[in-house]
């Protein structure tokens, strides 16, 4: 290996093609916009995390001794709002999806680059509104904004937060629209639908939900704000309005929104499983269709959030059955991933550790979802820590695990640098241990009857709560570590090869980091996705051979 002489100019790529703040703030390059999103959502992630830390500290002791109940209400609300709307929803689509969708389909950019930049600005403005609400005193309604508390009784900054979420919703709509058009119209020659990586299928399904669901929450939030500002009566029982209608409209979006969060995570896992096992994903077509099935069924199950809200028994029955149905395509995916790993030559690098974490934790999260979809059991554990543990297993154990795994896997492509492997494995292990220590005790707490959203609790729950808080601090370390070594690697990381994992897939056929227009020449696709049989060494560079720059 020759060391490149200093005088040779560095190859031009998307990161060094232009310099200065303006070149970033006015960029139309999907790769740079992905990095803008990465910075923004990382901020919101740690902000949301800060609230989580305060919640866990308060729950260290049975007495409400650190904060008052009003403050506690604001803490869990701001934790939920931050994490759901400003981290989980955009995390994988807006960062990894933005970066990878054009690369994976062999396009020079998304179909609408200006719209893509606009959606980042819209997202950021929405986030600033929410920050404003937070700095002015916060919101205490819970992230669900149930009426009539949110419209009539709450003395906090509901409208500012609602406006922030309303605005951020448009960024989600525009991202989804951009992905759908790009996937339909911008695929490289030869890249048929059934040659697409499963990452694309899942993002397509998630985009459908963004486009179909988000407008409904937008109009719901608008009505909520109008109700609060002008008392127009839509959700006010005093005028014949129906607060449960708000819940219907809210969950019509917010349940499918769960699939906006998990489908892109499944997208990442499909890629990671195939690359680590060096095999085609078992039952490719089924996994592809399962993504679409999840998106479709996802729109038919919202009523399972309202089993105890006074909807009719028959509605409850139907929603319960449909909720069971959504488990089928999810289970298809889990089984097919494990079948892919069967007899694969598995490389246990960091992304794969996160993948194992995802598969296990998502399975627990999904299974406990089935418990909750059962009408009888739901009445018992509704609004307890069982529910909290369930959705954190899906959202944190699922989405964030996949997000971190994907970030490690594509980091060399995004930055041209490798992360430190040993430290990364350590962090993955820390996250896994911390996560389980935080949330597994909450299943037991919930089953024993500890309700959510209270800042004080009976003394017999303390041991499990102390375990949970201890786990949260471990988890915090696990999340801070990657942030530190990722930043470190930008300067000191080993220079990455174009295809460090020896993976197939168009994104690995171009350089690391990719040139501004992604490919020197648009590739023609002749193989199905994950064809490790015909392309045993990946596509371009053999493993562990760094490019001379």
């Amino acid at each position: 290996m020759i060391t490149a002489p200093i005088s040779v100019p560095e190859r031009e790529h998307y990161l060094n093609a232009s310099y200065g703040l303006k070149s970033w703030l006015l960029t139309k390059d999907h790769k740079r916009i992905a990095l803008l999103y990465l910075a923004t959502i990382t901020f919101f992630f740690f902000l949301g995390g800060l609230f989580a830390v305060m919640i866990r500290l308060e729950l260290l002791t049975p007495e409400g001794d650190m904060v008052q109940s009003e403050t506690y209400n604001k803490l869990f609300t701001m934790h939920g709002v931050n994490m759901v709307f400003f981290f989980l929803l955009p995390a994988i689509p807006a960062v990894l999806g933005n970066f990878l969708v054009p690369l994976m389909i062999g396009a020079r950019d998304l179909a609408f680059p200006k719209l893509n930049l606009a959606s980042w600005y819209i997202f950021t403005i929405g986030g600033l509104f929410t920050l404003y609400a937070l700095l002015s005193g916060g919101v205490d309604t819970g992230w669900t904004f149930y009426t009539p508390y949110s419209t009539t009784y709450s003395n906090s900054f509901v409208i500012a937060t609602a406006v922030g979420i309303f605005i951020a919703g448009f960024s989600s709509i525009l991202t989804g629209l951009n992905f759908i058009v790009t996937i339909h119209r911008m695929r490289a020659p030869g890249l048929t639908w059934f040659r697409l990586p499963l990452f694309i299928w899942s993002h397509y399904a998630a985009s459908l939900i963004m486009v179909l669901g988000t407008p409904v929450i937008a109009v719901t939030i608008l009505l909520l704000a109008a109700e609060r500002a002008f008392h127009i009566g839509i959700f006010d029982p005093a005028l014949g309005g129906d607060p449960v209608l708000f819940q219907h409209l809210f969950w019509f979006y917010s349940h499918p929104a769960v699939y906006i969060m998990i489908l892109p995570a499944m997208a990442v896992i499909s890629e990671l499983v195939a690359a680590s096992a060096r095999k085609r994903v078992y039952g490719y077509e089924f996994v592809a269709y399962a993504s679409v099935a999840i998106a479709v069924f996802g729109f038919l199950v919202w009523g399972h959030h309202m089993f105890v809200s006074g909807q009719s028994v028959y509605a409850g029955l139907v929603f319960s059955v449909l909720s069971y149905l959504v488990a089928v395509p999810s289970a298809v995916k889990v089984f097919n991933w494990t079948a892919t790993l069967h007899k694969g030559s598995i490389a246990l690098e960091t992304p794969m550790l996160y993948t194992f974490g995802f598969i296990g934790l998502f399975t627990i999260g999904g299974m406990t979802g089935l418990f909750l979809a059962a009408l009888g059991l739901d009445v018992h554990v509704h609004d307890t820590y069982f529910v909290v543990a369930h959705f954190h297993y899906v959202m944190v154990g699922g989405t964030i695990m996949a997000y971190l795994g994907g970030l490690h896997y594509w980091w060399p492509k995004m930055t041209g640098r490798m992360y430190p492997e040993i430290l990364a494995k350590l962090a993955a292990l820390t996250v896994f241990i911390g996560f389980n220590l935080t949330f597994f005790p909450q299943f037991i707490l919930g089953y024993l009857g500890m309700p959510r959203r209270y800042h004080a609790y009976p003394e017999e729950f303390q041991v499990l709560n102390v375990m949970s808080t201890a786990g949260a601090s471990v988890l915090a370390v696990g999340y801070l570590l990657p942030m530190c070594y990722f930043i470190w690697s930008l300067r000191y990381g080993k220079v990455a090869a174009d295809n460090p994992w020896g993976a197939v897939g168009l994104e690995w056929q171009t350089l690391s980091p990719p040139p501004v227009e992604n490919f020197d020449e648009i590739p023609t696709v002749t193989h199905e996705a994950y064809d490790y049989v015909s392309l045993p060494n990946g596509s371009v560079t053999p493993k562990k051979e760094a490019h001379v720059r």
Partner: protein, 222 residues
């Protein structure tokens, strides 16, 4: 294959991400249709609220809808349908490179849209005068005053959001008119006219649903 090498062949300003002008137009059209789907879902939430309350309080809604002016509403419906026609003619003119006709039809569409908004403003004004605006000063004769207020809440939210879409549409058409004057559109490149046309028709269509729902249902009852 370089994007710039082919660029000169087309009159269209083409994004670097597209291979051909046709691909660009396809993408824009698909994007616009998807955007309209999101709009349908947006208004769908409102229609859903309307449906629920109409079903819960049919008498109150029928009584309240009698206070809307069918003549003005009908006139507005006609104005909007005419504006859809002029919009189609504008798109057609742009496809045939008739700049004068394009500008004329765009201005006509804007005027008809303006007429609609003017009449709508008059109708809203009547509601203010008659104390039919939801809130502390709301007054309604009859047994269902509370639920009638719900009707007027929906009336203002739905027609208000529709009017907002009209205002945006008129803004877009104004930009198009200026661009058409500068000769931006040719038979090869008229995607923006086409897309604004789709949007304009969509906004009309929303009104075609709003008008019977708010003004006409149960009109014959009394």
């Amino acid at each position: 294959m370089s994007a710039e090498a082919h660029g000169a062949v087309f009159h269209a300003p083409r994004g670097h991400q597209f291979d051909t002008a046709e691909q660009q137009k396809d993408a824009s059209t698909l994007g616009m249709w998807i955007f309209l789907v999101t709009e349908i879902m947006f208004f769908g939430g409102l229609f859903c609220c309307y449906l629920v309350y109409r079903w819960l309080y049919p008498a109150a809604f029928a009584a309240a809808s009698h206070h809307l002016d069918v003549a003005l509403g009908g006139f507005n419906t006609a104005a909007l349908i005419c504006s859809s026609l002029t919009m189609v003619l504008a798109v057609n003119a742009s496809q045939h490179g008739k700049r004068g006709a394009l500008i004329a039809f765009l201005i006509l569409t804007i005027l008809l849209g303006g007429v609609f908004l003017g009449v709508k403003a008059v109708e809203w004004h009547h509601k203010f005068v008659d104390h039919h605006v939801p809130g502390p000063s709301f007054l309604f004769e009859g047994p269902d005053a509370r639920q009638a207020q719900l009707f007027f809440s929906l009336y203002f939210v739905m027609t208000g959001l529709h009017a907002l879409h009209m205002v945006i549409g008129i803004g877009l058409l104004t930009v198009l008119t200026v661009q058409a004057k500068r000769g931006k559109f040719t038979p090869e490149y008229n995607t923006p006219v086409d897309m604004c046309g789709l949007y304009w028709h969509f906004v009309d269509l929303i009104w075609i649903f709003l008008f019977p729902l708010l003004y006409l249902i149960d009109r014959h009852a009394k």
